[in-house]
Symmetry: D2
Amino acid sequence: MSDPKIVTVRPEPDQFAWTFGGVPPLTHIKPGTVLRLYTEDCFAGRVRSEKDLVSRVCEFPFLNPQTGPFYVEGAEPGDTVAVHFVSIEPARDWAASTTVPLFGALTSTHTTASLQEPLPEVVWMWELDRARRTCLFSARDSGIQIELPMDPMHGTVGVAPAGLEVRSALVPDAHGGNMDTPEMRSGVTCFLGVNVAGAMLSLGDGHARQGEGETCGVAVECAMNTVVIVELLKGVTTPWPRLESDTHIISTGSARPLEDAFRIAQLDLVDWLNRDFGLSRLDAYQLVTQAAESPLANVCDTNYTCVAKLRKQWLPAGTTHRELHRQLRETASLIPA
Amino acid sequence: MSDPKIVTVRPEPDQFAWTFGGVPPLTHIKPGTVLRLYTEDCFAGRVRSEKDLVSRVCEFPFLNPQTGPFYVEGAEPGDTVAVHFVSIEPARDWAASTTVPLFGALTSTHTTASLQEPLPEVVWMWELDRARRTCLFSARDSGIQIELPMDPMHGTVGVAPAGLEVRSALVPDAHGGNMDTPEMRSGVTCFLGVNVAGAMLSLGDGHARQGEGETCGVAVECAMNTVVIVELLKGVTTPWPRLESDTHIISTGSARPLEDAFRIAQLDLVDWLNRDFGLSRLDAYQLVTQAAESPLANVCDTNYTCVAKLRKQWLPAGTTHRELHRQLRETASLIPA
Amino acid sequence: MSDPKIVTVRPEPDQFAWTFGGVPPLTHIKPGTVLRLYTEDCFAGRVRSEKDLVSRVCEFPFLNPQTGPFYVEGAEPGDTVAVHFVSIEPARDWAASTTVPLFGALTSTHTTASLQEPLPEVVWMWELDRARRTCLFSARDSGIQIELPMDPMHGTVGVAPAGLEVRSALVPDAHGGNMDTPEMRSGVTCFLGVNVAGAMLSLGDGHARQGEGETCGVAVECAMNTVVIVELLKGVTTPWPRLESDTHIISTGSARPLEDAFRIAQLDLVDWLNRDFGLSRLDAYQLVTQAAESPLANVCDTNYTCVAKLRKQWLPAGTTHRELHRQLRETASLIPA
Amino acid sequence: MSDPKIVTVRPEPDQFAWTFGGVPPLTHIKPGTVLRLYTEDCFAGRVRSEKDLVSRVCEFPFLNPQTGPFYVEGAEPGDTVAVHFVSIEPARDWAASTTVPLFGALTSTHTTASLQEPLPEVVWMWELDRARRTCLFSARDSGIQIELPMDPMHGTVGVAPAGLEVRSALVPDAHGGNMDTPEMRSGVTCFLGVNVAGAMLSLGDGHARQGEGETCGVAVECAMNTVVIVELLKGVTTPWPRLESDTHIISTGSARPLEDAFRIAQLDLVDWLNRDFGLSRLDAYQLVTQAAESPLANVCDTNYTCVAKLRKQWLPAGTTHRELHRQLRETASLIPA
């Protein structure tokens, strides 16, 4: 893989996808392709000042635009697509966050329905210092300012779902989608089970940073210039999205109530240890119980997402995903900046 | 506080408490007292080999023995008791974990009821190397062994509950109790709201280490020699247990479903920022959304427990809990080993 | 049982119990005793006009006073106490309902926590016409009045809990307690598993009527003159409260999330059919699936309660609870009014 | 409406729809059209004996075939489609039910994930006596037989969803779909909010009868000959599916956890009383609390469904849905059998 093909994609405004599934491919790519992508923020770039309330400037369902879908040649149901994040860089020196009426963890919603008034709709504009790699929070009701480290990530990465379905880009589920985990940062490989021919991979929803749980429902939302390598694992199934970093193997689960998202992710980690690392399921259950890290991803979206992580240094001998993560790290190091 | 009073407590087998509330005090202590405690493991020390199945050697409700309760002189409803963990040291060179029929996250239970057969009952004996500070996992179904770092903690710390109630030591709720968070380690101060005169503080359930979520329901269970300093904050309310480390302020919530535990902990963190650090509630909501760490504590007990953490270096100027954590760290450094 | 003993109990204000467990017996009774009881309403009689807001006139934890506990002679763990409701009659010609801040199904609460403002606190006074057996609703914000049928019931019936616990009278769980099901009306027998010597039976929380789910958290609350017969089934276990009417066998489950309350009640109904009516568990699962009625009881209390009912006319041949319900109906018919 | 147009539709095997949305219309109809429909059972007719296990004879996602979609001329987003059930008659003298691995309320599932073994896969064949209107249950593990009343209904009725989505016919949500409520019987009108031009109405999943909650996940599944009248209410929004019978107004909610389905349905009933019957929202909250019936629909599907019902005789003066239900009852009486 000394000479990967590099494809640059910057969608026109009318070229974004708003769903996983149900959209013709933006382009076809071969496994091994390097994609240099532009992704728009979840507001389609319409929240640009404190006056730009989502309820006024955005129009449902045109939220969370996705760059894609990419038809991965050769991908078929039963295979796994791998997306290695080479780099995720904010495309602007500002980002936005907001409250959204009846959306978020600390408010009633359209499903956790109540008779109470919605919270006020407020916009926070964040200043990004790309040289110093910081995000500056400015309080709205006081002069307080706080500088946080930049930690860019993609909230949404996914493929077309199974079962003939088309899902909004706001939904996380077994096909990936809007998982909103800060683990989806550069240096990580994301593995997604293929449900339809070509997989139909899309991504978007860049966050300059995000806390675990994405409490108010909206992160530090930012357009991104992102480089990924897309690969294909033929004949490898992946029931729920998995990630791999240099230090951890990482399972995810998305469901409601939140304990079900936990159960899915933890069971997937048990099955991962069982399939690739030689532990019986009960022994894996014991090891996961004592060794897993379980940071929340989102507790605000239509499904909630849990992460279950295990340090590689604690794994029994074994190989997983045909050592693709290590190979992609090497390939990534060869890509010209 | 150059000369704190030191009290040593090693309960006789018939002196342990099995509930929070409903038990006369083991002893009275003054605020500022250093307690050198012995705590028994959650099995009351009865699981000592792979043959000691919980269903055979333990007898409900005599699970999770607590050392206490301590009547803290001067503590009244509306105050807060602080428990600073000076050290938590395994009292044995082994620890035990098990599956328990119809208990744990990856099985049906008495409330998440199903018609399926329970999982097999299995015991894992862990070897503790206290010099090297490691815990050795030995798989039951293969020869695999894995060495994990020791990270001792207390699963259970609490006071008598409000509302005239008496709760099993297996329950986590607003009074603390069986929260099972790995954050409860040495160097940390735990703050608990007082509900009855004397607070009636107890603790137990030492774990040589535990993953986040305590998936199978049982950690690396171990008797402990633990040193704590107990202090009292008069006139400070603490609705849900809080922790403070040198690096983080930490809220907890315990409830079902798991998203409610999340909501409680995150809202408490918002209110903490609002009360002690000068942010409006909506500004605090935004900061928490982008900066909180949200590791799970337990997803197996009668209530599930979530943690919400914020790095102190990112806090606005302010003081909390009258700077008691810093003072207790200093006091702790003066205690003879 | 031609000459049952009749005991009349009208507690003084300081004699009510506020918990299940943790209270000495009000009196000892023999199995077969007829109790003529007075129960106070859940507000301890303090909400008497539209001006009597709960937050002002009531004081936590002195809510939901219980008449009892009754020590049932001979009752031991492993037995079942039966409470047959001969009659439940409103003791006044008015009743009260209210919203309570951060309590109820259509508001955020202390555990389903949000940043929103609580709903307004409002009292509705209901007129009861005991001759016509109607309850008159008068809207607060318009002149609308609606007459509903009276259907008196007890929201709270229970025994001391297992596991050394003491629970608030506001809590429903395996010991019964605040289940808030409209099925608990006259003509019905309630079966409760005994956890401690004497069972320690209490009841209260009369409702002139209540919808299924008790949406706002408060029914048409009313003091009651109630007649029950208390019996004892030696050697019969009852893990979760059961009811029996002339037409139905009825299981209950109390838990969070609500689906767990459903699971408990439905599994109990399956096990009931299996133990007493000769169906295998899977056959019972099928029959319950096609024949059960599943009205909600409460979706507002600390645990939610589901009911699962099956018409007796559809049951296979068999006897249950030693035909006690039929006997108690006969005994009841002999009691002088 | 003295001469309604009657359209007869019996789809060929390759003409069924497997999703809501994403399918071209089977035919266009004008408002007021009478549809004489054939619907296939949820197994696509493939389970015909006790040997026909779903895991062998059915192929995901080809489950729950829908008859439709019907493009209702003039229907636009913001309108409401009304489906009046004139008659629902079993098309065969047998019906089938089954357990399905990792599906149902009393088993772990793909999302309420556990390490336990799935339940055995069992088929029950039911005999339908269409003259006597009974369903005969035959136990598999004993000679027990039980005759239950026939009470035919449609588990699945819906329109294309909002937000560009396509949902499996197994999913209930705001667009209707697989709600599985026994209330969907003949004599009832179902109101569905329109999300796309033409509404794209489909229905299927006939049940000869079903208990409330559909505990094992599968009812008495049966092909049906069904007659409906389809009408259109221009300019009337319906956020969640509503039903109206001669005796009740009925709201539904579909979500997880189950308490959210409850909240949606109860809030919709409050808003219904507020919009059409003159009560303030808080007065409506009080009336619903004391008067609602809340039978469960399903606690097994991808979303759970709750029903909230109110007797019409207890409603304040008012009209709803432009009195369409009454008109359709009259029209129905004129249709030749």
